[in-house]
């Protein structure tokens, strides 16, 4: 009887430890790429930072917290950059960062899906973004492609030359911490 109780206790302890284990921590390298494009324009965000905890075997303990500096936007044209940072679009002085904080990561086909809060232009919205994790040794790359509607975040005026759907292509090379 004592053995059974001890075994159950050990199992419960193991389960609890597994549930609360923090996943592998990854450090972003400077070679990341955050590209965006719409029907008429496109560009990149040059500065991004954050913490990434990810383990394929422990998605429950995985989490993303990423912030993109709005002022680092580059469309390749100085006037467009200035306009993008202005109150007409991203309003960089008032909302200097685009933030994403994950809530849940699940396996989806050959990749994964992360659900979390995307905050842009002072508006927070829950989104689900697909991504692929390709790791080799101590290095790995998180990559994903998805679209967001700028009207959901009140970015820019409705209509106009720039389409509502903004496609984002993200590639974040990381190394194990």
């Amino acid at each position: 009887m004592k053995k059974i109780i001890l075994s159950i206790a050990a199992l419960l302890t193991f389960g609890a430890v597994q549930a609360f284990t923090i996943s592998q921590s990854w450090q972003m390298t400077n070679a990341y790429s955050i590209k965006f494009s719409s029907s008429s324009s496109g560009g990149i965000f040059k500065t991004c930072s954050g913490t990434i905890l990810f383990d394929e075997a422990n998605l429950g303990g995985s989490a993303f917290n990423v912030a993109i500096e709005v002022a680092s936007i580059n469309t390749g044209n100085a006037m467009m950059n200035k306009h993008a940072k202005s109150a007409d679009w991203f309003d960089a002085p008032k909302y200097p960062q685009i933030k994403f904080a994950s809530k849940k990561i699940v396996k989806a086909g050959s990749g994964y899906q992360v659900t979390g809060d995307l905050e842009m232009h002072g508006i927070k919205k829950e989104v689900t973004l697909p991504f692929v994790f390709s790791g080799k040794g101590t290095a790995a790359v998180f990559s994903g492609s998805f679209s967001v509607k700028r009207s959901d975040f009140h970015i820019g005026e409705a209509g106009g030359e720039v389409g509502d759907d903004i496609k984002l292509v993200v590639a974040i090379p990381v190394v194990k911490k």
């Binding site: 590209k35 580059n74 100085a78």
Partner: protein
């Protein structure tokens, strides 16, 4: 007369190209904004000489058409065209890896006036 004008256009174009190159070097060394990979030497020479040749042809045509006051009308037209052409550098989309795109018009706008000055 046409040959003389053409030669003048070519020489002016070369002088404008040399002035542009010197300006580009000074700009890059003083501001640290190097756009040499975008504004290339052959491009500077071709556009300046082409500008000079077109100006020579334009002057020749104006001379044939107006007979008098060619110089005043030509100078006015050339200045207006030079001013209008600065829209190009402001509207140009640089490669995304280019640093400090806001300094690009500062380099290229003055260059647009060198052929007229030459």
């Amino acid at each position: 007369m046409f040959k003389k004008l053409l030669l003048l256009g070519i020489v002016s174009g070369i002088m404008a190209a040399v002035a542009s190159l010197i300006y580009q070097k000074v700009y890059a060394s003083s501001l640290g904004a190097d756009f040499a990979a975008i504004v290339k030497i052959p491009g500077i020479f071709i556009s300046c000489v082409l500008g000079g040749v077109l100006a020579a042809v334009g002057y020749w045509l104006l001379q044939k058409w107006l007979k008098t006051k060619t110089e005043i009308v030509f100078n006015l037209l050339y200045t207006i065209i030079s001013f209008a052409s600065i829209v190009g550098p402001f509207a140009m989309k640089l490669p995304l890896e280019a640093e400090m795109p806001e300094l690009f018009p500062g380099l290229t706008v003055p260059m647009h006036f060198f052929p007229a000055l030459a």
